[in-house]
Symmetry: C2
Subunit: 233 residues, 2 copies
DNA sequence: CGAAAATTTGACGTGATTCAAACGCAGTGG
DNA sequence: CCACTGCGTTTGAATCACGTCAAATTTTCG
């Protein structure tokens, strides 16, 4: 294995923080660009919840994306470096997922299209696929975020609440369902030790929030569960 | 605000774990499906690194996606429920990002296309956009994962290494650069308290890994930095 | 039924957050 | 010019949540 600083490789094996691969694509997209704009430090490019107006490509400078949950807290989800694309996460929902603010003077290209349908020659199925991907991306993101920022009990409560919703959405009871996964798998997914999971399930049962017999779970007190989900710190 | 268990809502405000929105799309995709297959518990649908062969839609049952890093450890990244799509994260790179295994008897639809180009009537620019999204998704994922699984010092080291690479990729020195963001923003991004970040930067300077004067950062010892990135536990 | 795997429970250590206070620096106004 | 104020940063001390280790208990399955 050759000695390497790890700093000269174009791509990272693990711990990827930025992709340069998009740099190639940018060339193609630039043809579609009509506007060029400049932002000074602390100026806002777009706000969370704004209707999707198209993508932006960073030419120079650096920007940050802030995502603001219902609860008070804000998350800094992205730094955008030159060559990177802003707004990919908005394709799915049609709204920008976070507020984007310049942290230094930045130049941007705008690729305008209000609705993804206006993207030239886009077929319905592709549109759906794009939406799907974009949505999956932001869902995945918010899930991961939760893993980091929320304590273990909140994570578990969210998991049960989400499962409950899933079963309900598919026509089953939201209060009683079977989860084939083992405790180990569940713990893995929720990023906690099996022991922690076990303790929490015990605690939830003591608090009469739910019951767990083998792989059968019953949500006894949905309100209590929901109140844990909302719990902060 | 009406009383609600939070369990009956189709979508979640925060802490989204699963999307039902894709269920609609599935109808469209199903027309493209040619194969139906069944998997029993613990049977593998596809392996991480397998060349992309198309998407799968879960009809019934449940599956898990395991992602295996260079290092020993495995992560359970997804549970796939009925109606969800498997393989979206493979579009970008052309390889499946993780091993997918059934955790109970499951039925699947296969939407076969080996290369994304074979997706019917797909234009070059759309293809690129899809790739871009898919790639962004998996990058985002690995970044987030790192946040969870790695201690704070490793995260910070990764951040500097990634920044270094970014600057290098854009034609600047990888060893000396300016980051306009404040410590607070950096800490936010890295999911740690400002105090922790400050302590770590101090430590890195003591260890003569880097120097930080205001917003100017110098990586003095790239090898030492890289060795922290690789550090396990 | 018996061995192996999965789950639960307890004791303990530790990394990171929190609280608190001090410090440096920039801009403002007296 | 210098005190005053506010903001960002640094440092220290105490706390806590969670992971690790170890052992007991239950469940699974050949």
């Amino acid at each position: 294995m050759e000695k390497s600083t790890g700093l000269d490789k174009p791509y990272v094996e693990q711990g990827v923080l930025y992709s340069h691969s998009s740099l190639l694509f940018v060339q193609e997209l630039k043809n579609l660009s009509q506007y060029i704009l400049t932002l000074r430090r602390k100026n806002t490019l777009l706000y969370q919840g704004d209707p999707f107006q198209g993508l932006y490509i960073v030419q120079c400078g650096m920007l940050k994306q802030m995502l603001q949950s219902k609860n008070d807290n804000e998350q800094l989800t992205h730094f955008f470096l030159p060559g990177e694309i802003i707004g990919l996460d908005a394709i799915g929902e049609g709204f920008y997922a976070g507020t984007v603010i310049a942290i230094e003077t930045s130049g941007l290209l705008h690729i305008p299209f209000r609705r993804i349908e206006e993207f030239p020659n886009l077929q319905a199925s592709h549109m759906q696929l794009l939406r799907c991907l974009s949505r999956a991306m932001s869902l995945e993101h918010s899930r991961m975020w939760q893993m980091i920022s929320q304590p273990a009990d909140v994570r578990l409560a969210c998991f049960f609440a989400a499962m409950s919703r899933s079963f309900f959405a598919r026509g089953y009871s939201p209060y009683s369902f079977r989860l084939a996964m083992s405790r180990h798998e569940m713990a893995d997914y929720l990023c906690m030790a099996v022991e922690t999971l076990s303790r929490l399930i015990s605690r939830f049962q003591q608090q009469e929030i739910l019951t767990a017999r083998g792989h059968e779970y019953c949500i006894v007190n949905p309100d209590a569960l929901a109140s844990i989900v909302v719990k902060r710190k």
